[in-house]
């Protein structure tokens, strides 16, 4: 522990120095540096070989290349064009426009976008474990440097590739396409953009930095869900009304005939068809009812990995029911009751997604939350709940909702080796295997 505490600031410095040093060399520059080092070692004994002559040539080339970097600095300005949203784990591309402000054509430039580097703190370092860390050797595990690098990348939140800038003609501009992969949900902050220009041999790069602060919202990772969560016997297919809607109930638009379902009004039965088929058949009209569903997201717990999966499952469900013509209330089980309603003139699903993107783990549940739910239960058609476990608090919540006669669907994200037995109608999803679990629904 003491060693890690001492080593921590060094690692941060080390990675900063390394980042600055490596971006200033091209691949062939690095190759030449390595070759110089080898030639220096092999050619040490000038009686033994002529390799020292090659060494001299390489050293002089490297020094000259470094000296000539400043010969032609570019005269350009840059402008970043980020998309509104990105999704964690899904690569995307964005543009950086390079504008030629000088009186020469700018060729052979490279562009490097710099996100704000966020090193982990010691507490996070001790708490979190790199995926697959157990496969690393004992020394690496003890040192923890790989974990540090992984956490720093994760906190920074985005992985960016260098981009080549097309030739920028006079009085013109060019667009560089940057490939990016968000590594986590939440906000990603960009600090600056660097334009790299090579020396005449293409061994080193000179860097011109532009202050270019911006942020990007990364939405949670989402999984495809093959089925829709529609609840039989709810308000759906029944006349009803809420003042905030323009049209309620069923229209006169006949759609089809279908089998009778429990809850269908008897006046809708098509007697002729029922007689023919010897079972009740109802006429189905264009459904203009809407449902008001609730999605409750569990933010309690101490397992960040499971929490991320809870968020992903919630986001996937949100996207799944997005097209339903109804209202969706998103409840966060946290220290302060939070509800975001989307649909029909309220907020949009994207705002709910943004809220999910920035959701944090909490350690206790607000005492008002159950009361609030019990008040709101009367207007819910159905309720989806995503829990990261099923303890007393979750049980109380479920009971409150079910006692009001609201249809529920409970999703539980469990640890990798969770042996607990849950109620049969719960959807149990194993962390790390969520995608397959959701597909099997």
């Amino acid at each position: 522990m003491a060693f890690r505490e001492r080593a921590f600031p060094t690692w941060t410095r080390l990675t900063t120095i390394n980042r600055r040093a490596t971006r200033r060399n091209s691949d062939r520059g690095r190759l030449l540096q390595t070759s110089t080092f080898i030639c220096g070692a092999v050619g040490l004994d000038t009686d033994l070989s002529f390799v020292y002559q090659l060494f001299a040539l390489l050293v002089c080339t490297l020094i000259f290349a470094r000296l000539t970097i400043k010969v032609r600095s570019p005269d350009v300005s840059v402008k970043r064009q980020l998309p509104k949203y990105a999704t964690a784990g899904v690569p995307f591309e964005y543009f950086i426009t390079v504008i030629n402000d000088g009186n020469r054509v700018e060729r052979d430039l490279k562009i490097l976008d710099n996100p704000k580097i966020m090193p982990p703190d010691l507490a996070q370092f001790e708490r979190m474990k790199e995926p697959g860390e157990e496969t690393r050797n004992a020394y690496d595990r003890w040192l923890g440097f790989h974990r540090f690098i992984w956490l720093q990348k994760l906190n920074t939140g985005i992985s960016l590739k260098d981009a080549e800038v097309p030739d920028v003609e006079l009085l013109s501009h060019a667009q560089a396409i940057v490939e990016a992969t968000p590594l986590r949900r939440g906000h990603v902050y960009f600090e600056s953009t660097t334009i790299l220009h090579p020396d005449p041999f293409g061994l080193n790069y000179g860097a011109t930095e532009f202050d270019n602060r911006e942020h990007l919202t990364v939405l949670p990772k989402r999984y495809p869900i093959p089925r829709r969560f529609e609840f039989k016997g709810g308000r759906h297919f029944q006349p009803g009304g809420i003042n905030s809607t323009w049209s309620v109930g069923e229209s006169d638009e006949f759609v089809s005939l279908r089998d009778y379902r429990e809850g269908d009004p008897i006046r809708k039965i098509h007697w002729a068809s029922s007689a023919k088929r010897d079972k009740p058949i109802v006429k189905e009209f264009q459904d203009e009812f809407f449902v008001r569903q609730a999605l409750i997201v569990d933010t309690l717990g101490d397992n960040p990995a499971a929490f991320e999966e809870v968020i992903s499952v919630a986001a996937s469900l949100l996207m799944n029911i997005e097209n339903l013509d109804g209202l969706m209330d998103l409840y966060f089980m946290s220290t302060r009751p939070e509800i975001i309603t989307a649909g029909r003139g309220y907020a949009q699903t994207s705002q709910q997604m943004e809220a999910l993107a920035t959701l944090q783990l909490t350690d206790r549940l607000s005492s008002d939350f159950v009361d609030l739910l019990s008040q709101h239960a009367s207007r819910m058609s159905s309720c989806l709940m995503v829990f990261s476990g099923f303890s007393k608090q979750q049980e109380t919540l479920l009971a409150t909702i079910e006692n009001r006669g609201v249809q529920t669907a409970v999703f539980i994200v469990t640890g990798e080796s969770d042996e607990t037995t849950y109620r049969e109608d719960f959807y149990v999803l194993e962390a790390g295997n969520i995608e397959a679990g959701l597909k099997a629904l």
Partner: protein, 651 residues
């Protein structure tokens, strides 16, 4: 310049391989390598190889490297390890480079080369352009010779051409050439500087070393550890082995390495430093006696000569020296043998009889007792002892002496020998040998100080004597009845004491060392010709497998870049002179963007004065009615006028 379309060192790869072959005298390897490397530019077939294929070839290269290291280790007397290994590296890397060159993969991912990266979860991003790595390796390997004057010029040419291919388009050719010339001048001065600095450092260091250190056995002078305080300990490692042909432990117990006859302080020197060449009996055979009958069979001494060793350890009863890898053998007046032009070889043979032969007649110097030791020696002999009783007297005198490797007291600088004889009565073999030699002289018997090895450790499994570095020994040699007879007064327990102090891991090192020695013995006995048929068979089968694999692998035909033949497609209105204006503006750095309309372009580059000409041009190109000859002429005139007035300056 982009990764998708990397620049390849066409011609330069093959050229550097040929240069390497020429410099390292491996041209018959280099020639096919160069042909294979360059042939890919004329072959439009590539093989779609997977990561696993590359892993296999890399593993094969690794096995080749291990085999090469092993081979060089076994033949370390013949080859300089590092330089030879590096000089052969292009042969080792060749399969990997070839596979990459003929595959659809442009660069070598680092996990192919580094086994540790293969276990990494995330895909490895870094990759190398192996063509340039190979080019660099060839240039480096070519430098591993000591004589060529062409090295620097050829390296400069290949290096400059590579840099030219890879130069940045930001700079003009002129800038590039100026920078390159500056580099070449600086590099020439720098490498001369390196060489001269090395030479002067070397000279200075040699001077220091000559002044302070002398670790080799000098045939003319030896410095003893008489009077030194502390533990005197020599290594347990095996110096050499002796195999008597009889298979029995019947070899003489002492091997002479050097003989000295003049004592001064704690040093022994030779009075007559001359070495006389011994006459050859045959190639690699030298005789030392006229004896024609050999009572003992020939024995083999497995001693590896290196650059630091020129003295040949032999028994004093030596009659004939065989298979010694030297051009000449010379012998000192006192019987030490030195090899001239020794080359590394695993062993030599000796024949011996029962009488000592080495060393010529004694001189007055062999009776000289230095002034500083006279008092101490006189106290021991205490009057006249007949020469006939001298040997028993001396042996009796040393009978109550102890052997020790540890000198407890403070350092004796004054008269360490006197202290040994009268006070401590304990010491190591140098004390006993020095004291015995001087006592013999005091009693009127010519004697000399001899250093060499005690042959005592018999390994019954190998039927060989093992001689360790700690078996190095010193004794006296007395001239009795016309022969130089060894007189060893060191108490016999010295060997046991030395053995007791050996490392606990010694059996393990011995086991490893003996097995390595036996393997080398077996390996050196093998003759490649005996396995000729088997090798051809294996080679044939491997070639068949290779052909089969190449033929059945997935192949891709690469498209050659086609140059567009403009004559086949005529642009409507393509003869409009306005295109010359566009061309001129492009040269000036105002290139029209892809799909950008000409009018938009002219406005962007702030040339609205060209718009009227553009109107005529557009009509020339697109008006179904066409434009009149007069209008065409007008446009041409305007264009010409504009071109004449616009200064041509290329950016």
């Amino acid at each position: 310049m982009s990764r998708s379309n990397p620049i390849k060192p066409r011609y330069l790869g093959g050229l550097s391989a040929l240069f390497w072959g020429w410099q390292c005298e491996l041209i018959w390897f280099a020639l096919p390598i160069a042909i294979v490397l360059e042939a890919r530019y004329y072959l439009n077939r590539r093989w779609a190889l997977t990561k696993t294929d590359f892993y296999r070839v890399a593993d094969l290269t690794a096995i080749g490297l291990v085999a090469m290291v092993f081979f060089l280790f076994l033949n370390r007397q013949e080859y300089h390890f590092i330089t030879t290994l590096l000089a052969w590296i292009p042969i080792l890397l060749f399969p990997l480079v070839t596979v990459l060159a003929y595959s659809t993969t442009p660069r070598m991912s680092l996990d192919v080369l580094f086994y540790s990266l293969r276990r990494q979860r995330e895909p490895v991003q870094q990759s190398w352009d192996m063509d340039y790595v190979y080019l660099g390796t060839c240039l480096l390997a070519a430098g591993l010779n000591k004589e060529s004057i062409y090295y620097f010029p050829v390296v400069v040419i290949i290096f400059a051409c590579s840099l030219y291919q890879l130069r940045s388009p930001r700079f003009t050719k002129k800038t590039f050439v100026i920078c390159l010339c500056a580099i070449l001048l600086a590099a020439t001065a720098f490498h001369h500087g390196i060489r001269n600095t090395h030479l002067s450092i070397k000279k200075q260091t040699e001077l220091w070393i000559a002044n302070w250190i002398s670790q080799r056995t000098d045939p003319l002078k030896t410095r003893t550890a008489l009077g030194k305080v502390g533990q005197l300990k020599l290594s347990d490692s095996i110096a050499f082995r002796i195999k008597p042909s009889s298979g029995k432990p019947d070899f003489p117990s002492l091997l002479i390495e050097a003989v000295y006859n003049t004592s001064s302080g704690t040093e022994w020197e030779v009075f007559d430093p001359r070495f006389n060449t011994v006459k050859h009996k045959d190639d690699f055979t030298w005789g030392f006696s006229d004896t024609v009958s050999y009572p003992h069979p020939e024995s083999k001494i497995y001693l590896e000569f290196d650059r630091d060793r020129s003295l040949i350890p032999v028994p004093s009863q030596l009659v004939e020296l065989n298979e010694l890898p030297a051009t000449d053998v010379s012998m000192s007046t006192y019987g030490a043998l030195q090899g001239i032009g020794l080359i590394p070889a695993p062993h030599y043979r000796v024949r011996y009889d029962n009488e000592p032969h080495l060393g010529d007649e004694p001189s007055p110097m062999d009776l000289l007792v230095p002034e500083e030791h006279r008092v101490a020696l006189h106290q021991v002999t205490d009057g006249q002892i007949p020469a006939a009783q001298a040997i028993p007297f001396i042996q009796n005198f040393f009978s109550d002496f102890r052997y020790t490797l540890f000198q407890e007291n403070i350092e004796i600088t004054d008269d360490p020998l006197g202290h040994f004889l009268q006070t401590s009565k304990a010491g190591h073999c140098e004390y006993f040998a020095s004291a015995t030699t001087l006592l013999l002289r005091q009693l009127g018997i010519p004697s000399r100080y001899v250093v060499g090895y005690a042959i005592t450790e018999w390994n019954d499994d190998m039927k060989m004597y093992i001689v360790r570095k700690r078996h190095a020994h010193a004794w006296a040699s007395a001239y009795i009845n016309g022969r130089w007879v060894p007189i060893d007064t060191t108490p016999q327990e010295w060997l046991t004491m030395e053995e007791d102090q050996s490392s606990v891991l010694q059996p393990l090192w011995d086991f490893l060392g003996n097995n390595q020695f036996l393997f080398e013995l077996w390996f050196n006995d093998q003759k490649l010709e005996e396995y000729e048929n088997e090798l051809y068979g294996i080679g044939f089968i491997l070639a068949l497998i290779l052909i089969w694999r190449i033929a059945t692998s997935e192949q891709v035909i690469i498209e050659r870049e086609h140059t567009t033949d403009s004559s086949t497609w005529i642009l409507p209105g393509g003869d409009s002179p306005f295109f010359r204006i566009e061309e001129q503006l492009s040269i000036l750095g105002f290139r029209r963007g892809k799909g950008e309309l000409m009018a938009e372009w002219l406005l962007r580059i702030e040339r609205p004065e060209l718009l009227p000409m553009l109107t005529s041009h557009n009509r020339w190109r697109f008006d179904p009615q066409g434009i009149s000859i007069e209008e065409k002429k007008n446009l041409a005139d305007h264009v010409k006028h504009w071109l004449d007035s616009e200064p041509i300056q290329k950016t």
